[in-house]
Subunit: 478 residues, 4 copies
């Protein structure tokens, strides 16, 4: 059996929240379904029945976890949900979210997208003071902070807690009567607010989600983003906005635009699809090459390929076909078929590629192994030249803000020059989009900087990365 | 819960066979995986251990049915495989294939893609003569014919049997020492022959598959198609070709080109992807319209959209995004979200569509219900005009040759004029590709006719359709 | 992992039928549940909706196979059911029963308890004549015989078929409007008829089952046994009894009394529990020994132990406790625990056994391996003497009438003298009940012979055993 | 579907621990298997690999939860395990045990059998001080107490924690290098210590288990019980015994003897089987009645029935047969079969009971509903008189020490006189064993009192029961 994983970076989470709707848990479920690409390992929903929270979470895909029966056990008009990706090492149900606790502020459920960089330090401090930790998740720390805050209202205690943590976070929380949504002061991760118009004069339902594609499925309209440093409280008494901290220099994750987010989403207020087409166009301007065809690596490279083709005038072709029936593992023949893993997912269209000079467009090269195989597939299908174009700069540094990146030594662009990478993957030429070009494509005026680009630059906006993270509790449950 | 089925016709089967390879069953498994789009209901493999056949079949997807353990129970160097789509009514494991029996010709396993039109008549005759039938499949009849043939060799008995059946069939069969591949004299369904080069001077392995995309995954080269009326016998003594019947007027299923086959396959010796691009181009010539964007309905409409855009000069955009995590059923909110089922699969990219005149390209309209929803989605996303273009003629007649079509009264184009269909789906304009144009796109010189187009014309090549089919044995097993 | 199988013979099947009840399939399900001990490998039910039969069968236990949903797909007022034990070699779903076919006599479903001894001969004849076989079950032959009979009514065709087969059989069959029940002329296997009184003046429902414990669960009263050579037809027109063949010398399986049947059943019209107590009493008279305790090997040895204790005046004790949570396989420590497999199922009560002379009562010794371990367990728990008493004669010959026995060379009593067996199992003494004594215990007057005792005597009532059975079709499906 | 639950009280847990064995987790698994009767809802094991603890827990039966693969993920030479029964309301995986945390004392896993009566009070105190609670289990409190203890060694911190809790508890704990076993000062719940002799001069492995039947399966010898108020620490440095508190008046749960414990176990140092036989004998002396048969209600009433029969001289008969294939739920016919639920589990042997005066022996009557049905079954089978004898006093008060009892208003003996209960269940006579007689049967000399009998007397040894328990966190996960 082989693991069929293309060489991509993985998002760590998607969050969703609904307030004021008779089918709150069901809408969370649909929202999570739309956010499934942000995490396929586990999912969960916590819903308030008006008195207490009920929570259900399990390993697997959203549609497999939640059935009609399960959702019936989550009654109530407000709920939060979470979907999670995680590395094998701590793939624990106990780390699945929402995490729900009882404490002196009452019952609280929390769901988190992002990563705290002062988690280990805080955890150590709490342990010394006598606290116990049941998960290896940094999210648990936030609950301790809320519980131990001396503030007397929950909103104040949350603000207090949020001020003590450093890093990337978009949170949704639920209590028996409110939901809360908050973003870190740098705004690393997206979090959008929307509205489902009430029927027959009823009040609107308020929804939050990592991406607006979740709104489309539940019939919600986008209102605005939760702002960096903002804590929004939604209850029967209305919606209140608090700024628990001044916004710092904005550090929106640019890789959301490049790869993570669904193309039909708005993130950070802008269209992902439009940004990707611009990346392709800009790439055509920065790195033109004479060729017969432009081929995007499906699915994520297709839009940039369209942009490149439009800008360059070289025809776009669907020269690689993706097989959507492939799961995570597969039985491989013992007489190895070359590039078998990639072949299961992608098949070249021989007829199109034969005898052609091909420009391949992809969104990133992480370890380089998949790119090498794709280039080989395309050549084996008869292409005479293969020119690889990547719609972002070389990935040279790990992310500490919620993206699962390999260590630096596994990032091929951290270890090799562009030409060495080109040689490794076997392409005739290789170009990356410039950082400047990427920012421009994302609509950022020259000189301005609203994006975190640390994976390309190694410049970390928090100026602080907690490198000796405590080893997590190894708890496995199914 | 709602069933999430887009309004498409369904292929009924894919077949594969391997001879002369130490991992025959595993290669069948991979081949079936590549043919998964031809049938998602059940799959099976029968392999010869040199003395006897062992068969394993089950309901579900290929990758879920076969594990390493299961494949170990299918040792041997030749094997056949089958994947099946079927309507709910007779979704029985007992109807899953291969069907394997003992008879006076020894042990035989058979896998079938197609449909016999004289099945009911033959079955009745056999029943009167004292035969028993355990499945509702027409394939079982072929086994009775083989067993009762007076010919003394198996190849002769098969030829005898094949001459007695009428309709569409691409068969692969296995005995303890041979595999057989046959196509009906009109060549309705595809069946390709390929070769896996032997390593270190070993003999080549011979493979057969419904489509060549199966060859790509197992590292096989395409040799040629099995010819209409041909029976190929592969054994330790080599490959023999028999023409059990003269080829009749060729009636290749044109809908394989339009929708069924994978774009990376060759079927009937030609590239599917190329044909689809031509359909789009031809459609642009036949049915031009002033607009801002061309948007293909994913995934099957994308290639024709590319052709339409190229030919018309109107920019292609990925204005509809497909969610690939969707399974067959889903929990729907009680407060109905309009067009919910389609929304789960397709989401419009609002930013691209807003204020635009959009040409939507799809490959077919069956009942019209899905098209209506898609048009509405695109309009709700802000499109000012929606022009639907279909890359084949109106589907007006059911297929009796192996495609699962609804009855005529459910085919919208059989009940309404094109303009009425346009009105029903809510488009500003609607055009279908002409039959002439479709043939041309499939590379057919004017005036010639190698394709069955009965679903567009109601002209059935067999001149004979057995309409009062016996009601099948309703056997359900899991 | 180890297989946890005590050394017992296995029954091959249980059958049940219901006519004239609005919940026919549900009652079959309950009846099969009561007969679960007769077969744990697969189960199935075929029910008539008044026009057609619907059948559902699967691998596993009755309660796992049938859910409310499944039973809803089996509407109608008459149904038959089957539960099956089988050896690993041909544990195929395709061999599961009922087998249901279409033929010139209409649609027929059949369920069979027993074994035909002229199956291979008949199968060969049919194959030569051009029939195909899809299972390796001898039951399929009966369907061919029915289909090919020249009789014009189904009852006559069945009678015709039943006259052509030799061996042990209790059949139930269903067509769209009747059920049928038949027993072979020697009456090897039990088959009882009962009645569920109709409510509010409605007609009684008629039921058939291998054992009367099935009647108790569905609220039916025992009427009588189906007689050897009898074919009972139940329809809207009432109940008809046919004697398709004269009854031959009766050959009721005596091992039903010794071990197979549930103690709360009547089989062959007599109480199983009563017979077993008599076996114990008779054993005490035939093979007395001075001792402190009588301990039955649970669960099947308990009743004979009670009889032995009563007759001998030696106190009964529950000195071995059975763990009812044990499944079929189990993970074993690498540092082997002695007699681990038996220990998982049976634990000695040390306190009772310590320093005591123990008489162990069991119902049979097949290979001797389990008995050896049990004796050792009891000794290790401190017993000073262990005297084994078996409530039937030595098992020396395989059964050809529906019981799954090992080959003669694995039957310890066929290979060793009683004293050698005693030595092998490590007992201080060993005695078996005499054949005379066993018959007496089953209520048979001296000199009469209504029982088949071939497993003790090697005398086969059919005078004919088809030893070169055809190798079955190896079909595996899940 | 109906729930098939006989009317019994349920134990809440079994615990096991192993130190110094190369297959520690596997032995825990076997031990839990032997303790399966103490809890069928969830199970878990935490094992130390020498550096860290790894924990695996899930819902279900031990044999279903743990596979070879799972146990491989739990390497190391010491481990603890837990199996749990729980009421539906808080049947959460998050409440499954062991609970494992990180804290200032390092990593700790804990498994608990019993119930704390000051849990709510302590929890409230902790919450006020800023602690968070993730489960609704009282066990979590112990971990907070350990973490917040000012003692500097873990053993001292544990002793400190144990002194602060009140109630019933038998704990096993594990850290990376030690295991710990402790019992409350009153000794409510059993906890035995044993030894597996080391092979080839290796050191012995030390094991702990709720009952000694767990020792039998892993090949361990019983050493002694952990004493009330004792904390035993086992490490590479040997075994140390601490008395963290003076033993109080002993309050061993007498219901362990009556019903909970397996008959082949020693609990509180005595044989369960022997005690139960004495209960039956004593009952015969206290409540004789003229009758023809003594019938025990299987399985738990059988031993007392044996004692009653021996003492009274009235013959024992197995007049009720238990069906061991019954799961928890079952499909019931709509035309209700009377007493269906009980019939699925128990079937009367008509032949034995017909025309007889029957003494039924059972171990308890909780709500009375099952007893009513059993009496009716026996009567329907033809018994002329039914005399019910119960091998303990009337259950009149709920247990607060780890047994899941219904509220007082559902305990029939708390609401009705003995004669009213007799009338309710429909017996001709009804007698309970006296408390005196029960104590005597358990080997307690007159006047002494080592047992808790609060379920019969309402006298609670802790003199303190926390009635307004906090409502637990409703967390559901699978």
């Amino acid at each position: 059996m082989i693991e069929i994983e293309l060489d991509k970076l993985h998002e760590e989470c998607g969050v969703v929240a609904v307030f004021g709707h008779s089918e709150a848990a069901k809408l969370c479920y649909l929202g999570l379904h739309a956010l499934q690409h942000r995490g396929q390992e586990s999912a969960g929903i916590a819903a308030s029945d008006g008195h207490r929270l009920n929570c259900y979470k399990a390993m697997g895909l959203v549609a497999d976890i939640f059935s009609g029966t399960t959702l019936q056990k989550l009654p109530g008009t407000h709920a939060i949900g979470h979907t999670r990706y995680s590395t094998a090492g701590d793939s624990a149900l106990l780390n699945a979210q929402p995490i729900q606790v009882d404490c002196n502020k009452g019952q609280i459920a929390i769901a988190h997208n992002g990563n705290l960089v002062n988690a280990a330090e805080l955890r150590k401090k709490f342990e010394l003071a006598g606290s116990i930790f049941q998960t290896s998740s940094d999210t648990e720390i936030v609950l301790h902070l809320i519980a131990q805050s001396r503030e007397t209202t929950l909103a104040d205690a949350m603000a207090d807690a949020l001020r003590r943590i450093v890093g990337a976070f978009s949170f949704v929380l639920a209590t028996y009567d409110h939901i809360f949504a908050a973003r870190d002061p740098r705004g690393f991760r997206p979090l959008a607010m929307g509205r489902i118009p009430g029927k027959d004069g009823a009040a609107d339902a308020i929804v939050f989600a990592s991406e607006t594609c979740a709104f489309d499925l539940v019939g919600a309209e986008y209102i605005r983003d939760v702002k960096p440093g903002e804590l929004i409280v939604v209850g029967a008494d209305g919606i209140q906005s608090h700024f628990y901290a001044p916004a710092l220099e904005q550090s929106q994750c640019i890789f959301e635009q490049v790869y993570f987010a669904r193309p039909d989403s708005l993130v950070f207020g802008g269209s992902v699809q439009a940004a990707r087409e611009q990346m392709g166009r800009q790439l055509a301007r920065e790195a033109p090459v004479e060729a017969d065809l432009v081929v995007g690596v499906p699915d994520s490279g297709l839009t940039a390929a369209l942009g490149y083709a439009s800008e360059s005038g070289i025809p776009l072709q669907f020269g690689l076909v993706r097989n959507h029936y492939v799961g995570r593992t597969f039985i491989e023949p013992e007489q190895r078929v070359r590039d078998f893993g990639v072949k299961l997912k992608l098949n070249p269209v021989r007829h199109l590629l034969k005898g052609k000079r091909v420009i391949l467009i992809d969104d990133s090269i992480v370890r380089g192994t998949t790119s090498q195989k794709i280039v080989r597939l395309v050549r084996d299908a008869g292409a005479t030249e293969v020119h690889m174009r990547i719609s972002c700069p070389p990935t040279t540094s790990p992310c500490y803000y919620g993206v699962d990146t390999p260590e630096r030594r596994h990032l091929i662009a951290a270890q090799k020059t562009v030409d060495e990478v080109r040689e490794f993957i076997g392409a005739d030429s290789l170009s990356y989009l410039s950082l400047e070009g990427l920012r421009l494509s994302c609509g950022e005026p020259k000189g301005e900087s609203h994006y975190c680009t640390s994976c390309y630059t190694g410049h970390y906006p928090t100026g602080y990365v907690d490198l000796h993270q405590v080893r997590p509790v190894e708890v496995v449950s199914k």
